[in-house]
């Protein structure tokens, strides 16, 4: 069995489709595909990138914006090969008193930092839904947990985070003062950005091609099983996250039914759109534009799809 060290930026199994990587391991998908995957947990994308380029891992699940910047600056030579959670199910949560996104004018909106994916996504969503974005005061707060906390404590008027965070928060704290202003489906429709991808360095792509292929296939299989049988995901999650109630997991499982990257999540159109959107942000102002081929490699996914066939109707490949 070939080894593959996978760096993930979640401290625990998340309540979003990205959980597929953890669950595929615990449910034995990787073993069956013939690859020994070791999960290395780090707190955030920078640590993951640093570790990847230091050879501390073979593959890293990282944010797209960082990846693009690194590749544009030549700091990392690698490609995105898979996106297990192509669209993190973001949502916008606000104080209960706010009627619609239009009421956000003059109010504060929490983002992790200026120029981050959640910032760009949220601005795009708000604009698409008709809000006057220039009148909204953006407050950089940091990671999703801090944003959720700030919202719950009434320190910001609205913010965005994933459905997983919202689920956690609702279960453990009184959220009567909050409401979901933009639900996740609406959010994704307004801004079809891909936020996280699995990145491998060119070196590893060559030296561990077999392991990567096996890993990709195993992920597709797990995602398809969770799509076909949502209860399977809820069962697996119940073991990983005893702090979350079964009812919530069942609810989420149904919600995620159609969100799984059953075809690898590498929709080239969406990736191109994501790149174009990101390049509008301030962090990309001085950067050289890159071609899609420079940072995306669909060959592993394509090979796996040849094996297991394309699943139509879901997760459009865009090719």
């Amino acid at each position: 069995q070939e080894k593959l060290r996978l760096i993930v930026t979640e401290l625990t199994t998340p309540l979003v489709p990205n959980s597929v990587m953890t669950l595929a391991k615990s449910a034995g998908y990787y073993d069956r595909a013939g690859v020994d995957v070791e999960l290395v947990r780090v707190s955030a994308t920078p640590s993951a990138i640093a570790a990847l380029s230091a050879g501390q891992g073979d593959m890293a699940n990282v944010a797209v914006d960082t990846t693009l910047q690194l590749i544009a600056r030549g700091q990392v030579k690698g490609k995105a090969v898979l996106s297990p959670d192509r669209a993190i199910p973001f949502m916008i949560v606000s104080k209960a008193g706010i009627g619609s996104v239009k009421d956000l004018a003059g109010k504060t909106f929490g983002v992790s930092r200026l120029g981050s994916v959640d910032h760009l996504l949220s601005v795009a969503v708000l604009r698409a839904l008709g809000a006057d974005v220039d009148k909204i005061e953006l407050v950089a707060i940091g990671d999703p947990a801090a944003r959720a906390l700030a919202a719950q404590a009434g320190r910001v008027d609205a913010t965005s985070f994933s459905i997983g965070v919202w689920t956690d928060l609702r279960q453990k704290a009184d959220t009567a003062n909050l409401k979901v202003l933009v639900p996740q489906a609406e959010y994704f429709k307004a801004a079809p950005l891909i936020s996280k991808v699995n990145l491998v360095t060119d070196e590893v792509a060559k030296s561990k091609a077999k392991a990567i292929a096996a890993f990709t296939k195993a992920n597709l299989e797990a995602a398809r099983d969770f799509h076909k049988n949502p209860k399977l995901w809820a069962d697996a999650m119940a073991k990983e996250r005893p702090d979350v109630s079964r009812a919530t997991l069942d609810e989420l499982a149904v919600l995620f039914k159609d969100s799984w990257s059953v075809n690898g999540g590498m929709n080239l159109k969406q990736l191109a759109y994501t790149q174009a959107e990101l390049y509008k942000g301030p962090d990309f102002r001085d950067l050289r534009p890159v071609t899609l081929e420079e940072w995306v490699d669909t060959r592993p996914v394509d090979a796996a799809l040849k094996d297991v066939g394309i699943m139509l109707g879901l997760d459009d490949t865009g090719r």
Partner: protein, 280 residues
């Protein structure tokens, strides 16, 4: 009449008469451990009140925290994480002490060295450790070495600066006396400067332990997520506040234990210290 100094059963220092004079008569005899219990009780009460009245679900009650602690101990989560954290902490902290004490002695003993390095040490002390983390990961990876390095960087500063300061204020007359017996630089370091600045060094070690523990959290968060720091982040991100508080208290307890140990070493010094004793 018993006005003579008392040694507390727990090795605490004696009551100074200055303090006795300020306390109401009835309380004068209360030993230190009783006072500690009183403060502890007051803190618990405060905690409880905050949890119940203003906590908004983010401050668990002491009872809930205690239950969570039992649970985490029982299922092994806490002991395992503690063991992992202590391993990296003590390695990094030990290294910091082993480097900082001799270097501080040198800087204090050889003034030009001290004056030269001083400003760089200060600059380093003010540089956020998180700033080094990308570099540390790139060069040392995510594992044990990286964590130990981060803890080392945090703990080394207070020990170094306090050792240096202690030596700078060591008694020049005693140094001269030792030199007159023929003692060389090394012997003077060992026999005069080190014992003379012991209190300052121990204070540095205490501060270093605190910062080292805080750095343990940073290390376990920013390199591969493990140990108590990992638990802290996990529970924090998923709003498991009862478990979160257990981890916070675990850190506090470790800090208190380590520094209490140092305090005991320090209290041996009371034996040779002249202490004012007042009549009225």
């Amino acid at each position: 009449m018993n006005r003579e100094a008392k040694t507390m059963p727990d090795g605490a220092t004696r009551q100074s008469s200055a303090a006795r004079a300020l306390l109401p008569a009835g309380l004068k005899a209360a030993p230190v451990w009783l006072w500690r219990l009183v403060v502890l009780a007051a803190l618990l009460l405060l905690w409880w009140a905050v949890a119940v009245f203003v906590g908004r679900n983010f401050v668990p009650t002491p009872q809930a925290t205690a239950l969570a602690a039992l649970r985490l101990i029982e299922n092994g989560t806490l002991p395992n994480a503690t063991a992992q954290s202590l391993a990296v902490f003590f390695t990094g902290y030990g290294l910091a002490a082993a480097v900082a004490i001799p270097l501080g002695l040198l800087m204090g003993g050889f003034r030009p060295l001290g004056a030269t390095l001083d400003v760089f040490v200060n600059a380093l002390a003010a540089t956020p450790r998180v700033a080094f983390i990308p570099l540390i990961i790139v060069f040392l990876g995510l594992g044990f070495e990286a964590k130990v390095t981060i803890i080392f960087l945090g703990a080394v500063m207070p020990i170094l600066i306090n050792t240096y300061t202690g030596v700078l204020s060591s008694d020049g007359e005693l140094v001269e006396m030792a030199r007159s017996t023929g003692a060389g630089d090394l012997a003077i370091f060992r026999k005069i400067m080190l014992p003379g600045s012991l209190r300052s060094i121990v204070a540095g070690l205490r501060l270093g332990a605190g910062i080292g523990l805080i750095s343990t959290v940073v290390a376990e968060l920013y390199t591969s997520v493990r140990g108590l720091g990992g638990l802290l982040a996990t529970y924090g991100n998923t709003f498991q506040m009862d478990n979160y508080f257990v981890v916070v208290l675990a850190f506090a307890a470790i800090g208190a234990l380590v520094t209490q140990g140092l305090r005991m070493a320090e209290s041996r010094m009371d034996r040779w210290q002249y202490q004012e004793e007042r009549a009225s």
